[in-house]
């Protein structure tokens, strides 16, 4: 292990000590330009034949200094930057950030805004999980689910576009509420998508769930049991697949989630197949939540979308942490305010980054062919890992 001393630079130190290769082992560089590392993740593998002896993740290829950037922006200006972390689930990023500022400000968000926020979050969760399904399937060689899921994700993105004007980097929440009210007819469009969506989920399942190849590739792969999950801080569907019914929407409820009726799917075997099932089940539950939000919003029309927020947002000095259940796990923002109009320090607790840490343990002993399943099963977004 080379001990780096800050301030001095010599050459590139070796990645993590000298590689101690056995007689039958070779070192394999997996990424950062590998097709199934979901971006720019690099793994240095030590393989014996195809069996992985050790895997060392190397992240940071997409580091953009977002947290430094946060410190130079006023509070409302931070929101567009949060979009760009987990760029397939921008709405939950916005939400977590707004929650932490609202917590310090003590702002009450109007009920209608809460429901719209939850609606956006759950649509975002559907689109994120569906994208995960697409990429995980394509990693394991099934190319067609990719196109079917993108067909449905496209509808969600169109709905986002109609609501807030952007498809991916939504910038769809403001401190204290929402930027704009719904457009007339938007709720009906959401309903027209959501109600028949169950059939689309069935189609994905017909392609994969019972398929013997899919099962052989996923059952018993990348097992990480509940105890190890918590030790590694792994949250989200990976933790729930290990049998722990822990979901921030229920455990530390925010917004109007206590009023909504939904189940928390849990797996038993903590393997890739269970994570797949949990995510599909979560798509179904999110669909349920969306329908409930639609019902509420249709019954309670109104215009109040913004709480009482001072014109210049200056939260009192102090620390606060707020988290949401992002599609990948617990997404938290750790805000240290000093009383100014800019965050003194805004730290992100990115679920992808923390979950990725458990990858070496999950990958050990599997084959190179399984590694893509292992990477896929964690559901990482490198924009969030590297920030």
């Amino acid at each position: 292990m080379t001990e780096p001393t800050p301030g001095t630079v010599a050459q590139f130190p070796p990645l993590a000590g000298p590689p101690l290769l056995g007689l039958h082992e070779m070192e394999l560089n997996f990424g950062p330009q590998h097709p199934s590392t979901h971006g720019v993740l690099r793994l240095v593998l030590q393989v014996d034949g195809e069996r992985i002896v050790s895997a060392r993740p190397d992240v940071g290829y997409l580091h953009r200094g977002t947290e430094k950037l946060f410190e130079t922006e006023t509070f409302p200006m931070v929101i567009p930057h949060t979009d760009r972390m987990d760029y397939v689930a921008a709405s939950t990023n916005n939400h977590a950030y707004c929650l932490v500022v609202e917590k310090l400000l003590g702002v009450e968000v109007p009920k209608r805004a809460q429901y719209i926020r939850v609606l956006l979050d759950e649509m975002q969760r559907i689109s994120s999980h569906v994208l995960w399904l697409a990429t995980a399937a394509i990693d394991l060689g099934a190319i067609t689910p990719f196109f079917y899921t993108f067909r449905d994700r496209e509808v969600i993105l169109d709905l986002f576009e109609e609501y807030c004007g952007a498809r991916l980097t939504l910038n769809c929440m403001r401190i204290g509420g929402l930027p704009v009210d719904l457009t007339p007819g938007w709720l009906e469009k959401v309903r027209a998508f959501t109600e028949p969506f169950e059939k689309c989920i069935d189609e994905y399942e017909d392609l994969l769930t019972e398929n013997r190849i899919w099962k052989e590739r996923t059952v018993g792969i990348a097992v990480l049991d509940e105890k190890r999950c918590i030790e590694w801080g792994v949250t989200g569907p990976v933790l729930r697949a290990a049998g722990k019914a822990w979901d921030i929407r229920r455990a530390l409820p925010y917004e109007c989630y206590p009023e909504l009726d939904f189940d928390i799917p849990v797996g038993k075997n903590a393997d890739t197949y269970d994570r797949y099932l949990v995510r599909v089940a979560e798509i179904r539950q999110s669909r349920r939540i969306v329908l409930q939000c639609l019902d509420w919003l249709e019954k309670n029309p109104g215009t109040e979308i913004r709480g009482k927020v001072p014109r210049v947002i200056k939260p009192p000095a102090g620390e606060a942490y707020a988290c949401v259940e992002a599609p990948k796990g617990e997404l938290g923002f750790h805000l240290v305010a000093s009383g100014g109009n800019k965050p003194y320090r805004l730290h992100v607790r990115p679920p992808s980054f923390i979950n990725l840490q458990a990858l070496p343990e999950m990958a050990q002993g599997h084959l190179v062919g399984d590694l893509v399943a292992v990477i896929g099963t964690i559901d990482i977004v490198l924009g969030e890992v590297d920030r």
Binding site: P76, G106, P315, Y321, R345, I354
Partner: protein
């Protein structure tokens, strides 16, 4: 948007009441824009629909008429009487320096030398098995300079969360022995702040590259970035690389 009407540019922040340190240069200039060279010139000009005085807004007062009365901010309350904190203080004597509750979150200031013992106690005896988050904060002009923040979660105590706060100069004891997940979090804090975690099994940079100079999230690190050519190709740029020494862009990464 919060600003429906033009408001005067930002005033310097009042002194933080909670944190003992002064706030270093969060908003030193009257400009609300970042110190990027191009567009910042607009800010000092008087706003158009002059509700606010047009005088240079560096004075502390003029924000008052435009801004609505600020809601009374939450105040930290002492939490050292809480059973959890009291137990911790009794189990690890000298560990808890101070404890307060703020916006529903409990924070305990821990003495660095007792950090590992306190964490071990909290994990084993109080059920804080899940380390949610660990990070650092740079108080530039304070001694000791950094705060290391740890956020713990307990499933068995009814989803309770507890924040630990350790003030350290540049070295902090590692908690990787307590929670394995602290590994990358501490690496990130090391990378970004240069806080050394003594005893960490693999303390390397994680987000920036291995030859990077400086620690980006320190308050004295320039927002424009630094010239890193020399760090990457020392043989090609023996004099430091990048833009020439007289170049005004010398500190800027191109």
């Amino acid at each position: 948007m919060t600003d429906e009407k033009p408001t005067p540019p930002e005033i310097p922040a009042p002194e933080p009441t909670l944190a003992k340190a002064v706030e270093p240069a969060a908003a030193p200039a009257p400009s609300a824009a970042a110190p990027s060279p191009e567009p910042a010139t607009t800010a000092p000009k008087p706003a158009a629909e002059g509700a606010a005085p047009a005088a240079p807004a560096a004075a502390a007062k003029p924000a008052a008429p435009a801004a609505p009365p600020k809601p009374a901010g939450p105040k930290p309350t002492d939490a050292s009487g809480k059973p959890l904190i009291a137990d911790l203080a009794a189990a690890v004597p000298g560990a808890v320096l101070e404890a307060y509750e703020f916006v529903g979150e409990t924070t305990a200031k821990i003495a660095p030398e007792h950090l590992v013992a306190a964490c071990r106690y909290l994990k084993d005896k109080e059920g804080f098995t899940y380390l949610v988050d660990q990070t650092a904060v740079d108080w530039k002009d304070r001694q000791p300079r950094f705060d290391v923040l740890l956020l713990l979660h307990s499933f068995s105590r009814g989803q309770e969360r507890l924040r630990l706060k350790v003030a350290v100069a540049e070295a902090c004891p590692t908690v990787t022995g307590v929670w394995e997940t602290a590994n990358w979090m501490e690496r990130e804090a090391f990378d970004m702040y240069g806080v050394r975690f003594d005893g960490h099994p693999d303390l390397r940079r994680i987000l920036t590259w291995d030859g990077f100079q400086g620690h980006p999230l320190r308050k004295d690190f320039p927002i424009e970035g630094i010239d890193t050519g020399a760090a990457i190709y020392p043989d090609r740029f023996p004099e430091g690389g990048g833009p020439g020494p007289k170049d005004t862009n010398r500190k800027v990464v191109s």
